[in-house]
């Protein structure tokens, strides 16, 4: 059926709402203890996939295994999952304690065991003083902690998070992100986490699945996703500010794009085929070399600065390379002004090459 150390397996999952195909032939293997992030813009099917795993949506075709058990026809409560929602979804008329115990009471667990689990979860999440309060009397961060606690007390194998931090303000989001990572390190449970925030995805994930139109565009570690995007969509989606793209021509080992010639020494081609034809080269704004080091880079050129956005920690420069718009990320103390001529260097080994027609990485 499957290899023993996989925690969640999804086989040929289809989900259609009438004529709309939300998920198509989707396959996914999640290892035990892995933190997997489903990342994508809204409407890509990531939350839908999570709801399918939870059993909250009836699937059209395919199978779902959790802990090597076929749970395709099981009720959500029988799947060994706990779920945390974006709106927290705490039961407003119950106290925090009532919220935590609701699932356990439904499972007819003995009272002392319930009490033990609640106090254990409350210790981990530091919500011990809040147990007698109603959700309305809690702050956003506290509510989300209770929501996590509700999954925690059930002692499940798999945690599902549906954009749990999206309703929080920026500061709290960062704090809770770190807490979530700590929690994962401590519990070592499998966690599946849906988000549209790439910072959350990059910081939390062991692996990221980037989704678009009900399909997984790339599944890989944050490092792979960032440095070796498999297609143009992933390359464009990940990274803020996003990657610079130039259309050009590849012949042998040399790319001509944006009016400059770049020998692609050091670039790892995906295969050893004869690479030639129309290509798109992508270079991250932070991989453009400026300052003194620019003169030592393998490929050198110069650009005209059009706009400068100082952001404190770094400076974002909008410039034109032979008439092609591009973004360059420089250090925060860089002194540049609109109209300046800026020497830049490009390291081809850090660039990404895509076939213009198939949009796949070369």
């Amino acid at each position: 059926m499957s290899n023993s150390n996989s925690s969640v397996e999804i086989r040929d999952l289809d989900l259609h709402f009438g004529e709309v195909k939300v998920l198509q032939k989707l396959n996914l293997d999640i290892k035990e203890g892995e933190f997997l992030v489903l990342l994508g813009s809204s409407g890509c099917g990531k939350s839908t996939l999570l709801n399918c795993i939870a059993g909250l949506l009836e699937i059209t075709d395919g199978q779902i295994f959790i802990n090597n058990q076929n749970v395709t026809w099981k009720e959500p409560s029988e799947r060994g999952i706990g779920m945390v929602f974006q709106s927290y979804a705490l039961y407003p008329q119950m106290t925090v304690e009532g919220n935590l115990s609701f699932g356990l009471k439904n499972a007819r667990m003995p009272k002392d065991e319930i009490a033990r689990r609640i106090s254990n979860a409350a210790d981990i999440l530091q919500i011990q003083p809040l147990l007698k309060r109603k959700p309305a009397a809690l702050s956003g961060g506290q509510r989300q902690r209770v929501a996590i606690g509700r999954a925690l007390v059930r002692d499940v194998d798999v945690f599902l998070f549906d954009e749990p931090l999206s309703n929080l303000d920026a500061k709290l989001r960062t704090d809770l992100r770190v807490e979530l990572k700590r929690l994962h390190q401590r519990l070592e449970n499998t966690m599946i986490y849906v988000t549209h925030d790439q910072v959350e995805a990059m910081t939390l994930a062991d692996r990221i699945a980037i989704m678009k139109g009900g399909k997984i565009m790339q599944l890989g570690t944050p490092d792979e996703i960032y440095n070796r995007p498999q297609n143009l969509y992933v390359a464009d989606f990940i990274g803020s500010p996003s990657m610079n793209f130039f259309k050009g021509h590849l012949k042998g080992n040399t790319v001509e794009a944006a009016g400059i010639t770049m020998p692609m020494d050091g670039y790892e081609f995906a295969d050893n085929q004869d690479n030639a034809g129309e290509v798109t080269i992508g270079i991250r704004p932070e991989h453009l070399i400026t300052g003194e080091l620019a003169s030592k880079a393998p490929v050198k050129s110069s650009v005209t600065v059009e706009l400068v956005e100082p952001m404190g920690s770094d400076t974002l420069v909008y410039a034109a390379l032979n008439g092609n718009q591009m973004r360059i990320r420089m250090e925060g103390n860089a002194r540049v002004q609109a109209g300046d001529n800026l020497a830049i260097g490009i390291d081809p080994s850090r660039a990404s090459l895509f076939d213009s027609a198939t949009e796949l990485r070369l």
């Binding site: 709801n51 939870a54 059993g55 909250l56 009720e75 959500p76 409560s77 999952i81 706990g82 779920m83 929602f85 974006q86 709106s87 927290y88 979804a89 705490l90 039961y91 407003p92 008329q93 609701f102 699932g103 439904n106 499972a107 509700r150 059930r154 549906d162």
Partner: protein, 301 residues
């Protein structure tokens, strides 16, 4: 510095003063006053007349307060006035109405709330068609169904009894109440329902432990709608029950529309007020909840 602060003192500051007697206010409050009088005067006449004796009424000053207050018309309306063959006043009708209203309200609300909950949260196959048919029922004029229902009630042996009328009221309350409950339950966050399912609660567990405690406003609305609707019903009462089981409204009609003897206006007025007292008091007790529930049922999110 000094200049700045003085110029700040001189300019407009704080809330903009409004004129108490602006044209807008006169129009607004004038309209409200006229409408209030329009609605209050009949009530005033009723109360005043019901407290007068017949000689005083014959003097013809319907707006003047009673010279001599008497409660005899109220007593007569309640326990002595003739309603058709018997002369026992409205009291038996009152208890009939209570016996009709309470079960009808309870049955219709219990069933409709479960209907609405199932339609909103458990999307079963054919739910949309079921809902459309149910709502369509709300637009069929009652008169069309009067006679078919007489036959149906006769066939199941409930014609002429309180039970038959309770059944009719419960069924006829279904479309509008189901719509009301469905919309309210749809407006509750869907994630709560999902969370409860993950927590292992079933159909009834979610209904009783999650949904019901959050639905007090909409239940209040439903109770008010049903109590006033059923209590004030005349048509079904007169068609589907016999003289023994006539509800209060039918007996009121019999008192007021009697063609024999003297027209006792004071008794008529008292009887009418007594009949209207139940819906009126429901509004007074739960008016605030009613408004909140209507708003909650209408606004999504």
């Amino acid at each position: 510095m000094v200049d700045v602060s003085t110029s700040m003192l001189e300019g407009p500051r704080g809330p903009k003063p409004g004129k108490a007697l602006s044209r807008k206010n006169i129009f607004l409050y004038g309209t409200l006053l006229i409408v209030t009088i329009y609605y209050a005067i009949p009530l005033y006449v009723m109360v005043v007349t019901s407290l007068k004796g017949m000689p005083e009424i014959r003097m013809g000053n319907i707006f003047s307060p009673p010279m001599e207050i008497t409660f005899a018309p109220w007593v007569k309306a309640w326990s002595e006035a003739c309603t058709g063959l018997t002369c026992e006043g409205l009291s038996s009708g009152f208890w009939n109405s209570v016996k009709i209203t309470i079960p009808s309200v309870l049955i219709s609300i219990v069933i409709a709330s479960v209907n609405g909950y199932a339609l909103a949260n458990w999307r079963f196959k054919g739910a949309d068609i079921f809902f459309t048919i149910l709502i369509f029922g709300a637009f069929i004029p009652y008169q069309v169904m009067l006679y078919p229902i007489v036959i149906m009630l006769r066939e199941i042996g409930l014609y002429g009894s309180l039970g038959g009328l309770v059944l009719v009221h419960s069924v006829f309350g279904m479309p509008i109440l189901t719509l009301l409950f469905r919309n309210y339950f749809s407006s509750l966050p869907e994630e709560l329902f999902k969370a409860a399912r993950v927590d292992g609660a079933g159909f009834w567990g979610i209904y009783f432990r999650i949904m019901l405690p959050m639905s007090v406003p909409i239940f209040t609305v439903a109770v008010i709608l049903q109590v006033t609707g059923i209590w004030n019903d005349f048509l079904f009462g007169v068609v589907y029950t016999g003289p023994d089981a006539y509800p209060m409204t039918v007996q009121l009609n019999n008192i007021v529309n009697t063609t024999q003897g003297v027209r006792e206006y004071n008794v008529n007025m008292a009887a009418t007020i007594i009949t209207g007292l139940v819906p009126l008091s429901i509004y007074f007790v739960s008016g605030k909840l009613f408004v909140r529930g209507i708003a909650a049922g209408a606004v999504k999110g």
